[in-house]
Symmetry: C2
Subunit: 197 residues, 2 copies
Amino acid sequence: MSSITLHPAAQDLLFREARTAHTFTSEPVTEEQVQAIYDLVKYAPTAYNQSPLRIALVRSAEARERLAQHMDEGNRPKISAAPLVAILAADNEFHEELPALLPHFPQAKDVVFADRPVREESALLNATLQAAYFILGVRAAGLAAGPMTGFDFPGVQKEFLDDDHTPLMVVNIGRPGAAAWHARSPRLAYDEVVTTV
Amino acid sequence: MSSITLHPAAQDLLFREARTAHTFTSEPVTEEQVQAIYDLVKYAPTAYNQSPLRIALVRSAEARERLAQHMDEGNRPKISAAPLVAILAADNEFHEELPALLPHFPQAKDVVFADRPVREESALLNATLQAAYFILGVRAAGLAAGPMTGFDFPGVQKEFLDDDHTPLMVVNIGRPGAAAWHARSPRLAYDEVVTTV
């Protein structure tokens, strides 16, 4: 019997056959699709349920052009061609929502997260976990994600966010187009990654 | 038509019904199960396919006891009761494997990742993404994960890792036991998380 409960078709959709896309068709990604993705991935776990991920959808041609100017040169054509581009960021002031998010320990806002450096470290870790959930959520919607970290982070923060929001990555979203990906690169063997103590 | 392609049972297994477990049954988690989880989640994306996540399985009673001593007091009983405990860490020397992992750009090792601070930042981001994939992979195996960041990070690093490996989190793994979780806490509404520019 397989050790994996998840249906093989779902394993393929999320992990085995899904790939980082570099080209996309022109089919739009609707607000309804993004909402469905969020309504799924919002349940995946974060520490203290702090849920620090924030998402800015770049939809207007004007905003798209401004974002492209902050991307590394090799990423600009992808930004221009993707049906939807999302800036994923960590909210360093997530503690303001904690009393609502953590009703059994509302004082966590002041007891655990009073200090900004503590919040920044925790927001970075937990928003990054949520970025991974989001990438898999995009795949769960039958779409391809193209996450990118090759851009001017302070530039994107200044242009689209504020001092309380730290950019993590930019994600192209859509249906894969022609020659959407390279051949699959190798992965590390189990024994290179997992040890027992 | 639903915007989500993933089968509803798979949505429940990974996101909607899955929960962070605080108690576990005594049913062991086998090496075969961990290998199956790894063989699935290894395909999820990282920048430059750098794959910096490393996993130390804490199996012996002696190692379990040593780990418990570095955990925050509230996490110690979980560490003792979980069938399997895994320390997830980022390999800051991941670039050594890049020529094998990225055959179409083997020089990335020296061109992009020659400097340790650049590697540390990239390893933290990408190993954290992989930690999220791993949590969902544990759920895909029909098991519950209990990720924890409440521990003495330098202590765990010194005791179980080395200067090149930064701990990210400790994860309890097993089948959920009695009263395994609190009531589900609220999540942020879509409009609190997603904006359009």
